[in-house]
């Protein structure tokens, strides 16, 4: 039986360095090629030696598909393609292709320039790597080669995030990457058609969470900002440059517009500006509202949001500032925080999760006195708010996607093992399909039951149609007669005559004969006549002939009568039919074995 094999090199029962190998129909595909944020050693990248000990990967992989631009999904890409060596096609969507190199370059700078690492990929490598990228459009079916085709679906999550449907013959796999089933202010919800893949590989970050409605959170967020501004306070929102930041910008921008607010909003510059540019460009990837209104005004051309300058932080009056990085551990956000922390009118809103040890984490846990470097302490008087805006599907969303795609098997990655366990149970219970959750390096093998396409001759089909009464019912299998010819890798179902002709064979007649003994006191001819009338009454709708040469023909079945030599009352019926009439012939023989009804004249 054909099999599909899935091996996660990363993201198996884990979050980070997503990298999943899939072998399907003789093709090997790598899904995502990410890095792990938590490590700084070799564990940072997936273990490519799993694929080959030495040498390039090109011979072993048919293609690489990157789902979106987050580094845990694409961070190892230049390493793999340039340092390990891969020359095949890399597929990603247009926005991902545009934004991915910015992030990679940023990542490279931090690692090499700041941390001083050597043996890391260079800017040139990133460029070379991006040259191998083939861009994808949504819902566009791309033929990687003759058999392998891939198709991208919208995934929400971040700009340009895609789910991919990989298909070889009739076997298929869907890989979701990260996705979001609830729309937000700038992106729509993930969507897939009922493609019924053999395996659905889904992320499961929030396998055990069902989230509250987004609106409450948004409203709370806006209310807090608004109240603080009205009090004349300053609001600091530490963000990471891409993704959530844009969502919050849109949220605030529209709110400012609606409420006619005048207080300035600033966005600390940097790589954001470049990224914002791409957001403006890829309007088709955003949500309904932005898509519909961009003709009047592109929502990403912010009216109220201006670039931040370091000196603005000391300006009097209310303002809102978005600053990087998101966990308040360094950079501009920390500087601003230090300036504003002393005033209780001010506010800091943490829009995401903070790693332990960062200032963000400390203040979220209620610490009011912070020790800064140089043994100085900082009194935190400003208000600290926490607002979670996350763009992963929650448990319900994952279930919804399964319902949409109707896969035959389910495979969970990109999540914690314990949480996956729970979701796995639920999936198996609700959908009664198999669900797998392999660890890194563990291979899952799924046997598929692919349908074998067979060409059928039109004539044969038409003949069958003409025979069969009502319309063909697609839900019910139907038997038909024909000859299967296997020739040069192709299968063909034709009528037997044609098969004979094609193969140059002679037809052999196969006839069955059968004797049936019958007790009947009449003469032979009478008996024959009695049989004739009997059959006539039983088999309505068949042609029954009484031939002058002393035989009865039912269609092509011949019935003859002769008296037995010993007992003239025992008649021997001779039935003869061809192989094609087997059904009718056996029916007749059983019928005649029962004898003739006495009532016949």
């Amino acid at each position: 039986m054909p099999e599909i094999k899935v091996t996660p090199l990363g993201a198996g029962q884990d979050v980070g360095r997503s990298c999943i190998l899939v072998s399907i129909g003789g093709k090997n595909i790598m899904l995502d090629c990410g890095m792990h944020m938590g490590y700084n050693d070799d564990r940072r990248f997936p273990d490519f030696s799993y694929i080959t000990q030495n040498g390039r990967l090109t011979d072993f992989l048919d293609c690489v598909i990157i789902s979106h631009f987050h580094l845990d999904h694409c961070g190892a890409l230049p390493f793999m393609s340039e340092m390990v060596g891969y020359d095949g096609p890399i597929y990603m969507t247009h926005p991902t292709k545009a934004i991915c190199p910015i992030l990679l370059e940023d990542f490279r700078k931090i690692t090499v320039d700041k941390k001083g690492e050597t043996n890391f990929f260079t800017s040139q490598m990133i460029k070379d790597c991006m040259k191998k990228v083939v861009p994808l459009n949504l819902h566009q079916t791309v033929q990687v080669d003759d058999e392998l085709e891939i198709k991208a679906y919208y995934a929400g999550h971040v700009l340009g995030a895609a789910m991919v449907h990989i298909k070889v013959g009739s076997e298929s796999v869907v890989y979701t990457g990260d996705y979001n089933m609830t729309p937000d202010r700038h992106l729509g919800a993930a969507w897939i058609d009922k493609c019924r893949p053999d395996i659905l590989i889904s992320e499961s970050t929030y396998a055990t969470t069902i989230r509250d409605s987004k609106r409450c959170r948004e409203r709370d967020f806006l209310k807090k900002v608004h109240e603080s501004i009205e009090r004349g306070g300053k609001v600091l929102i530490p963000v990471f440059a891409l993704g959530r930041a844009q969502e919050l910008c849109i949220l605030l921008e529209t709110f400012w517009e609606r409420m006619n607010l005048k207080a300035p909003i600033y966005f600390s510059t940097g790589l954001t500006e470049k990224a914002n540019h791409y957001y403006k460009l890829f309007i088709t990837w955003t949500n309904q509202k932005i898509r519909k209104t961009f003709v009047q005004r592109n929502m990403f051309e912010f009216k109220h949001i201006k670039a931040f300058d370091r000196s603005y932080a000391d300006n009097p009056g209310p303002m809102v500032v978005f600053a990087t990085p998101g966990m308040l551990h360094a950079g501009q956000s920390l500087q601003i925080f230090k300036k504003w922390a002393g005033n209780e009118k001010n506010m800091v809103i943490m829009p995401g999760y903070c790693v332990q040890g960062t200032i963000g984490h400390k203040i979220l846990n209620g610490q009011r006195k912070l020790e800064m470097e140089g043994r100085s302490t900082l009194d935190v008087k400003l208000q600290v708010e926490y607002m979670s805006f996350s763009a992963h599907a929650d448990a319900k969303g994952i279930m919804q996607l399964i319902r949409m795609a109707e896969p035959r098997n389910m495979l969970l990655v990109h999540g914690e093992a314990v949480k996956m366990e729970f979701l796995k149970g639920k999936i198996e219970q609700e959908f009664s399909i198999d669900c797998y959750m392999p660890a890194n390096g563990e291979t899952v093998t799924v046997t598929t039951n692919p349908s074998v396409p067979v060409d059928i001759s039109l004539n044969l089909l038409k003949r069958e149609m003409a025979l069969g009464g009502p319309l063909p019912d697609p839900k019910k299998p139907r038997t038909m007669h024909g000859t299967l010819i296997m020739k040069e890798n192709s299968l063909k179902l034709v009528s037997s005559e044609q098969a004979l002709k094609e193969l140059g064979l002679n037809e052999h007649q196969l006839r069955f004969t059968c004797r049936v003994q019958l007790q009947d006191p009449h003469s032979d001819t009478d008996t024959l006549h009695r049989i004739y009338t009997h059959l006539k009454s039983v088999l309505k709708g068949y042609t029954i002939q009484h031939l002058p040469d002393g035989t009865v023909m039912v269609e092509s079945i011949v019935i003859k009568v002769s008296s037995s030599t010993e007992d003239p009352n025992t008649k021997v019926l001779l039935l003869s039919w061809s192989y094609q009439d087997e059904d009718l012939g056996s029916f007749l023989s059983t019928l005649l074995k029962k004898g003739l009804p006495s009532g016949l004249c």
């Binding site: 529209t254 309904q288 509202k289 926490y386």
Partner: protein, 971 residues
């Protein structure tokens, strides 16, 4: 297609007149085919190839065919059909057959057989499908003949097994449109009697999704035609809910919905358990499930249908708002629940603590149901949907359900309030409207009110006004809420001064709704002090007026409140009572001498009735006395209208009517009637003016007031007739030309006839009136000479008394608000006409003037309301605003926000133009003339009488002056 048909019908109508001319000389040619068909025949014979033939047919299809020649044409087409080998030509012929059988006045039963015969040896599937379509048309044209139907149905059943989906589709459509449920239909092979439904339902499992859709649609069609769908279909329809194709799912949702209405109380088993539930609950659950479907069309459909499933049990209904939150397998409370808890615990929302929403209890993994079976969270999903269409549908559905269930209304409140924050304005607006509609069921908590009020700062005027409307109807729970609302409204007033009226109105309702909550706030609101006199606030401050409006309206039903007022408050009351009478209660404040004397609406009503009764005694009075009485009554009624807004319409209506009578009386009582013609020229002029004025007033009476019944309309028409008679008499006296007199006499006679026709039912009530007398004399009138007629008219007019006006019964009962007489009014809010700065623009170019007006009690404003601009040189422009410029903030109210473009040649100095609103009327649109006027056939014989074709405009707003200055263009 529809446009094409319409065009044809139209052409046909416009051509009708010509036929008699053409046919008249050709009487002998009865045997010959009508020219049209002959031409076609020749054309088709000439056609050498199929392309030509197709061209001819296409050309032919553009022209109309007369009713009498249809059959001939059909025969020719059929003849050609059999000869034709090309599929496309046959297809066109088939479609033409269908078109032709739709011809008005043609009964297609004569071509049924032929049409069916053509099916017999047709090979092309497309043509077959088209033929089935033609049969469908024929079948729908012949609703009265069951035999034809039966035949068509049999034909359809036969072709259902066609391999082409189009044919199957059409057959199903035909079955849906013509099939009958009660008569068993065909016998299939096994000799079983089957009816239409089971045949159609066979195709629910067809391999082609289009056929499945068609089958579902056919079934729905059956339902629409009033046939009862069997309950068995339910299971099959439910199965189709999980079809691969969206159109099938969408139709299936409808089907399930229909069945849930037919068999709400049936019991269906829950699969994989042995429980059973009501069918409507099951269907509700299933449709709720579709709210998270992959296709947004289906989601919209599902969300919409949910709203009308009112019979669903409460526990299912409430599940739709349920979404059990969890985090790391621990139960979490929703933000809504937290807010409520905080509120009940008396603590204000902190939200400041990290992990404030930290999950509490540990969940048992087995009980967590991720894909909720049934309705779970349907609305939560619907309201968060990506497409705003779905969100709007969900909001509307919520509204419908909430209106029928108070507890559900309570529950969905939080969700609706959340929607106030939607990114699309339409959705925000809709949710505000919805909240208003269900507000009778709910009382807002303080935190909820807070969220609601936050929207008051929205920069969109629509949103703010909708919100004001909402606050008018909202109940709040505490005095803090009232204070909060007042504060926010004042803030709003400060930020957007144009909202003044709307904010005041809002506070009026707020006050009258919560008198007891306002009471403790009064000293603070009016800043009174127990010992010290506080300075008198500025009476022109809108904010102060706003506070006063709130307080006075509350004081209406709170007798202890006036004791807290200081002297100036009372003075302000009487001032406001006069200047803003619509905002202040008409009575109840014993603090002020109720100089209007009238108590409640009832007594006003009584007064109105008495006035009318008094007027009816007028016959017995001498002329001057009668006129005085009318004068006083009119004055009284007008004042009453001002004071008692609820009766304003009726009072005004009566006053205007009486004014007509007064004018008529004056005109008739002038001495002129006894004088010789040349001597009375001057009086004649006044009488003519009076007649003209009466005519105008009658149009106002008829079209400006809504809620009139036919009796009153008859009375109005009666006055109009009198005015016309007066005009006629005056014409007769002044003009010498006999021809014009004859024609006006004829016209008058026609008027009488049409009056009689229109108000046949009302005639018994009009006894002893002018018309009554005229009708008695009618035979004589129509035969006599104009001069004689005028004489008769003169005497009748003078003898006939005043026809007493009766107000409709409904007006008399206080409870029925709907059938009151209302006067259509319009107020132009912007431009205010107060600006001294002229609007400068270059001549030859245009300047846009923003117009903002409220319209009340105007029916169909999109068509009837126009803006008139009057330039100082007498030029006037009438501008028809776009339909989209009208908004409907509330029942019987419209808001016109539009721009008119002004332009003029250069002026030397700025001057004022006038802008006003006009109400266009045309008497053919009155309720009395039958709407069937649109039918083309009957408009031929009865040409619209001149009387019914009166069109015109009534100015119904105060004109507003705008200062403009067109500058000469600089070179």
């Amino acid at each position: 297609m529809a446009a094409h048909l319409k065009k044809r019908v139209y052409e046909e109508f416009s051509k009708v007149v010509q036929i008699p001319h053409e046919e008249a000389p050709a009487k002998k040619l009865r045997l010959s085919k009508p020219s049209k068909s002959a031409a076609l025949h020749i054309d088709l014979c000439k056609a050498t190839n199929s392309t030509d033939a197709l061209q001819y047919l296409l050309h032919f299809a553009r022209k109309p065919v007369e009713t009498e020649s249809v059959e001939g044409v059909v025969r020719i087409l059929l003849e050609h059909y059999y000869k034709e080998t090309d599929n496309s030509v046959r297809l066109k012929i088939a479609s033409l057959l269908g078109l032709l059988s739709k011809t008005q006045g043609f009964s297609p039963d004569c071509i049924v057989d032929d049409a069916i015969n053509t099916l017999g040896n047709e090979k092309s599937h497309q043509v077959l499908a088209q033929l089935m379509d033609t049969l469908l048309v024929i079948g729908t044209q012949l609703p009265e003949s069951p035999a034809v139907r039966q035949r068509l149905i049999e034909v359809a059943c036969k072709h259902l097994s066609d391999t082409y989906f189009g044919v199957r589709n059409k057959c199903l459509q035909l079955l849906g449109c013509l099939g009958m449920v009660d008569t068993p239909l065909t016998k299939d092979n096994e000799g079983l009697v089957r009816d239409v439904q089971s045949i159609i339902s066979d195709y629910f499992g067809d391999q082609d999704p289009r056929v499945r859709t068609a089958a579902l649609k056919a079934m729905l069609q059956l339902h629409e035609r009033g046939m009862k769908i069997h309950e068995i279909i339910y299971d099959q329809a439910c199965r189709l809910l999980s079809d691969d194709y969206e159109q099938v799912r969408s139709a299936a949702v409808q089907m399930v919905w229909v069945l849930s209405h037919l068999y709400p109380e049936s019991i269906v088993p829950i699969p994989s358990s042995n429980e059973e539930i009501r069918l409507v609950d099951d269907a509700f659950g299933k449709i709720s499930h579709m709210v998270s479907d992959g296709s947004w069309m289906v989601r919209v459909q599902a969300a919409k249908t949910l709203g009308s499933m009112l019979q669903v049990s409460p526990q299912f209904l409430e599940q739709t708002l349920d979404k059990k939150l969890m985090s790391d397998l621990r139960r979490k409370r929703t933000a809504h629940e937290r807010a409520k808890e905080l509120f009940t615990s008396g603590e204000f929302s902190s939200g400041r603590k990290w992990a404030d929403d930290a999950p509490k209890e540990k969940l048992d993994t087995n009980t967590v149901n991720l894909i909720a079976s049934g309705a779970c969270g349907a609305f939560v999903h619907g309201l968060e949907d990506e497409m705003f269409e779905v969100r709007i549908a969900a909001v509307e559905a919520l509204c419908q359900l909430a209106r029928s269930s108070a507890s559900f209304a309570e529950k969905c409140l939080d969700f609706l309030v959340d929607m106030f924050n939607d990114e699309i304005e339409e959705v925000r607006l809709q949710s505000i409207h919805v909240l208003r509609e269900i507000s009778t069921h709910i009382t807002l908590r303080e935190d909820q009110l807070d969220t609601v009020l936050a929207v008051l700062e929205d920069s969109s005027r629509d949103i703010r006004e909708a919100l004001h409307e909402l606050i008018c109807y909202t109940n709040v729970s505490t005095k803090e809420c009232v204070q909060l609302a007042l504060l926010e409204l004042l803030k709003n007033l400060n930020k957007y001064p144009t909202d003044r009226n709307s904010v005041w109105k809002c506070l009026k309702f707020m006050g009258s709704r919560h008198p007891t909550l306002v009471l403790p706030l009064v000293p603070e609101l009016l800043s009174t002090h127990p010992y010290f006199d506080t300075p008198e606030p500025d009476m022109d401050d809108p904010a102060y007026i706003a506070v006063l409006v709130l307080v006075f309206n509350a004081a209406k039903s709170c007798p202890t409140m006036p004791a807290l007022f200081s002297d100036h408050t009372f003075r302000h009351y009487s001032y406001l009572r006069d200047s803003l009478s619509h905002l202040l209660p008409g009575n109840g404040l014993d603090l002020v001498d109720s100089r209007c004397g009238l108590g409640s609406v009832e007594s006003a009503q009584l007064f109105l009735q008495q006035s009318l009764n008094r007027v009816s005694t007028i016959q017995n009075l001498e002329a001057p006395g009668a006129q005085d009485l009318l004068d006083f009554t009119i004055r009284d009624l007008r004042r009453l209208g001002e004071l008692q807004t609820e009766l304003a319409g009726a009072a005004d209506f009566c006053a205007t009517y009486l004014r007509c009578q007064l004018l008529l009386m004056k005109a008739l009582q002038d001495k002129l009637w006894n004088m010789a013609v040349p001597l009375c020229l001057k009086q004649n002029v006044t009488a003519t003016a009076a007649a003209q004025q009466i005519l105008e007033e009658t149009y106002k009476l008829e079209f400006l007031y809504s809620g009139l019944d036919s009796r009153q309309v008859a009375t109005i028409h009666h006055v109009r007739l009198q005015a016309k008679a007066l005009q006629l008499i005056l014409t007769a006296r002044t003009r010498q030309g006999l021809d014009s007199l004859i024609s006006s006499c004829e016209k008058f006679l026609q008027d009488i006839e049409s009056f009689q026709r229109l108000f046949l039912t009302e005639l018994p009530h009009l006894q002893d009136s002018f018309v009554d007398k005229l009708l008695e004399l009618m035979p004589r009138l129509s035969s006599c000479k104009p001069v004689e007629l005028v004489k008769i008219l003169q005497t009748t007019l003078r003898q006939s008394g005043l026809l007493q006006l009766r107000l409709p019964e409904q007006t008399m009962s206080i409870n029925s608000r709907t059938m009151r007489i209302h006067r259509a009014t319009a107020t132009i809010i912007e431009p205010t006409g107060e600006s001294d700065n002229p609007l400068r623009f270059t001549t030859g170019l245009v300047v846009a003037l923003d117009i903002d007006a409220t319209l009340e009690h105007v029916q169909d404003p999109q068509n009837n309301v126009k803006v008139q601009v009057l330039y100082p040189d007498g030029q006037s422009h009438v501008i028809h605003p776009k339909p989209g410029d009208f908004r409907k903030p509330g029942p019987d109210r419209h808001r016109l926000i539009t721009q008119v473009y002004l332009s003029h040649t250069a002026w030397t100095e700025p001057s004022q133009i006038e802008v006003r609103l006009l109400l266009a009327y045309s008497s053919s649109s009155t309720s009395l003339s039958s709407p069937s006027k649109l039918g083309w056939s009957d408009s031929i014989d009865s040409l619209p009488t001149p009387e019914t074709a009166v069109e015109g405009t009534i100015p119904f707003s105060k004109p507003v002056k705008v200062y403009i200055m067109p500058k000469p263009a600089r070179r």
